[in-house]
């Protein structure tokens, strides 16, 4: 089992390196084969066969990218099934690295949680890789792009399956650097490279806290092993556990784009759309939530940290949803909705439902990957990311339209789709925490123990309001993009099959994943809360529909009026950071540069200049005339003799 998990992690990792180094070599090797295939298939359905033979077998990087991920998907599916049939933790350690202090083990740890998340990661990554083959077909750097996606997936799988905090951190950091490379794929564009640097720096800021959180917990437990740390968590001192979990939350906020550190995510839209799908659905942002879920017993020992998480979640949830409402760029709508949905998960964790949060993570992984890949189809067809350029795409792109309808329904939380069930679980748990009663199962009540009731109220109320806003922006985006007048060029066509089918395939889990929750006590929706949240959702979606219906040519968001620019800028958080952080840092940097030039450099150059000057003085005597030298010698001798005579 552990071997399977290790192979699942290593396959994309190897694929990344092979693709990076030998991608084009493989293409060259395969070209004769492709030619033969083309010759061999002159008969039936010649056009398609030829097209396939021309594209696929000769595309080495694509093969290297897709096949290992597919194998990893199969492996993780096997692991997940085995875990489902026989739920117990399976651990394996390759080696224990002695560090002189607390040793750490290179090992994997598979339990139900990690198995199911790993499967989700692989499925989304596979969909993204297949989609990218078509989406990035004409990109000259497709090879490195696909390799980085493989590396990204491998890093995320390492985070998911790792059995040791430091190994987890390795995966965590590799993801950070991969996100930098992928967001900055179009680096020749200034804005893109700046967005990549921003994403890297902001997540890095959180990662510093994360690393120190790992140290605090690891030192507290005298081990970095995940299970040992969790076993020691209840016995650690209050300070240790609160400090450790709060520091971990820094990293979580950075990676999962929660309130103080969320600003990188909307800018990260500068990267290619499949990368956004991967980052938003499966890998990067899910990692933060996943780590909290993985270390959940430690967080339960520190209810204060969970309360902080709840506050962060509430701010991010509502703020990002409001910002999403006003965006004009389809990808930025989805980016803000990601922040908002991740905040739902964080809120779920804050009120004590790990399973609910993970349920939402899986559902979100499915529908957000779907939405982003669908958005990619739309963007390719329309040639612009602006919502203003879309409209009336329903007829031209039926597959994309229906798939994205399912995605938007899941995002808004409409009943048959997955988002409804998962969101409802979180809200129900928030209600229980607010009430502090064990209405649900004993496990739920026991889990919620110690979390302050106000956290429950906060998450519940903000969650319900956010549900309204979410429904509003989902409806608005859906209506503006697919209904109304056509504002796009007339020759809009459905995306190619390699892009269309992953989107359609992802629509299935986005729709039906919610029903899996019916089998579990924690995850079954409670009728009361379901009705209430549905009312809120209908209020939001219906309101927007009514506004739109009055004048379908116009964007319903115009009703926001004067608030709209503020929301469009995401509450001007970037401007605030610009004043509070960026400018002081730049001023400090300039000061350092000046100090370097004026003090350090000046000292060094001054020493050199002084030595030269002194040498110049001595050089005067060396005029090449030996008689002068001898005169000097004689004068020296006379002086010495005189000194000896006088002094003795």
């Amino acid at each position: 089992m552990i071997v399977l998990a290790a192979v699942a992690v290593l396959l994309p990792f190897a694929a990344a390196f092979i693709g990076m180094i030998f991608g084009h070599t493989i293409s060259h090797l395969l070209t004769p084969l492709a030619r033969r295939l083309r010759r061999a298939a002159p008969g039936a359905s010649a056009g398609r066969a030829r097209g396939l033979a021309r594209r696929l077998p000769a595309n080495g990087p694509a093969l290297v990218a897709v096949l290992p991920i597919a194998a990893s998907t199969v492996l993780t599916a096997v692991i997940a099934v085995a875990q489902w049939q026989d739920p117990k933790a399976r651990t394996g350690t390759l080696t224990l690295v002695q560090t002189g202090g607390v040793p750490f083990g290179v090992g994997l740890d598979v339990d139900g949680l990690s198995a199911v998340v790993a499967l989700m990661v692989c499925c989304v990554a596979l969909a993204v890789q297949i989609y990218s083959v078509a989406y990035m077909r004409d990109d000259p750097r497709y090879s490195s792009y696909a390799a980085f996606i493989s590396l990204f997936t491998a890093a995320m799988l390492l985070v998911v399956l790792s059995g040791d905090l430091l190994v987890l951190y390795v995966g965590w950091e590799v993801m950070g650097v991969c996100s930098y490379f992928l967001i900055g794929h179009y680096w020749h564009d200034r804005a893109t490279s700046r967005a990549a640097v921003k994403a890297f720096l902001v997540t890095r800021l959180g990662d510093v806290g994360f690393l120190f959180g790992i140290f605090v917990l690891g030192m507290g437990a005298h081990s970095f092993n995940l299970r040992t740390v969790l076993a020691h968590a209840p016995t650690m001192s209050h300070t240790t556990i609160v400090a450790g979990t709060l520091l971990l939350l820094c990293g979580v906020a950075g990676k999962s784009a929660q309130f103080p550190l969320h600003t990188w995510l909307p800018d990260a839209m500068a990267g290619p759309t499949p990368v956004s799908a991967l980052i938003h659905a499966a890998t990067m942002v899910a990692a933060g939530i996943y780590v909290v879920a993985r270390l959940y017993p430690a967080f339960l020992s520190a209810p204060d940290s969970l309360a902080v998480l709840g506050v962060i979640a509430a701010i991010s949830m509502l703020g990002a949803a409001l910002a999403a409402l006003a965006q004009e760029d389809l990808k930025r709508v989805l980016a803000y909705s990601t922040i908002s949905q991740l905040a739902y998960m964080a809120g779920g964790l804050a009120v004590g439902t790990r399973d609910g949060a993970l349920f939402h993570l899986l559902a979100h992984g499915a529908f957000k990957a779907l939405l982003f890949l669908g958005a990619g189809c739309v963007i390719v067809a329309v040639g612009s990311t602006m919502l203003g350029a879309m409209g009336g795409l329903r007829i031209a792109m039926p597959v994309t339209f229906w798939s994205m309808t399912a995605g938007f329904a899941a995002l808004a939380g409409l009943p048959p789709a997955s988002g409804f069930f998962s969101k409802d679980t979180i809200l129900s748990q928030a209600w229980h925490t607010a009430q502090r009663q064990g209405e649900g199962s004993a496990a739920v009540a026991q889990q919620a123990h110690g979390i302050p009731a106000w956290t429950g109220w906060l998450v519940l109320i903000v969650g319900l309001v956010t549900a309204t806003v979410t429904a509003a922006y989902a409806t608005r985006t859906w209506l503006v993009a697919f209904f109304g007048e056509r504002r796009s060029p007339a020759n809009v066509r459905e995306a190619p099959g390699l892009m269309r089918w992953p989107v359609a395939a992802l629509a299935v889990p986005a729709l039906v994943l919610g029903f899996l929750g019916l089998g579990s006590d924690h995850l079954r929706p409670e009728p009361g809360m379901a009705v209430v949240s549905l009312l809120f959702v209908l209020a939001g979606g219906g309101g927007v529909f009514l506004v739109w219906n009055r004048d379908p040519a116009q964007d319903p968001v115009r009703l926001l009026g004067p608030v709209r620019p503020l929301l469009l800028d995401g509450f001007r958080v970037d401007a605030v950071y610009g004043v509070l952080v960026v400018r002081p840092v730049l001023a400090l940097a300039r000061l350092v540069v000046r100090a370097d030039e004026r003090v350090v450099d000046a000292a060094v150059e001054g020493t050199g200049r002084g030595a030269r000057g002194l040498g110049g003085v001595l050089r005067r005597t060396e005029n090449g005339n030996p008689q002068t030298y001898i005169s000097g010698v004689l004068a020296g001798v006379v002086i010495i003799v005189l000194a000896v005579v006088v002094l003795t």
């Binding site: 050089r619 060396e622 005029n623 090449g624 005339n625 008689q627 001898i630 005169s631 004689l634």
Partner: protein, 109 residues
């Protein structure tokens, strides 16, 4: 004979040599001045050898050594001067400033 005469003569000889070495511009005369200085030393060696009545006559032996060395030195020195003259058509030590930093300017002046 009082010791003062040969010592004064030796001192005078040495001074003449020093003056010649420092002031003459002709390299051959500089060599000759060196010889004067050596012979002043020789004179001193012989005089003090007699004065102290050294049984081994170390002073006189040393004088013989110095004479031999001086002969060799003059041979070598004259050979150098000859070569310099052949190359540069001059034996003026003031103009032989190749070792100086501003050899070009020195040569031009």
């Amino acid at each position: 004979m009082h010791l003062i005469y040969p010592v004064v003569i030796a001192a005078l000889l040495f001074s003449v040599g020093v003056y010649g070495v420092l002031a003459r511009r002709n390299a051959i005369l500089v060599l000759m001045s060196v010889e004067l200085m050596l012979n002043a030393v020789n004179l001193n060696l012989v005089v003090f050898d007699m004065r102290w009545a050294d049984r081994l006559h170390g002073g006189q032996v040393l004088t013989l050594f110095v004479i031999v060395l001086a002969a060799a030195e003059v041979g070598l020195g004259l050979a150098l001067v000859l070569l310099i003259y052949r190359n540069r058509r001059t034996v003026d030590v003031d103009r032989l400033r190749t070792l100086g930093e501003h050899e070009q300017e020195g040569a031009r002046q």
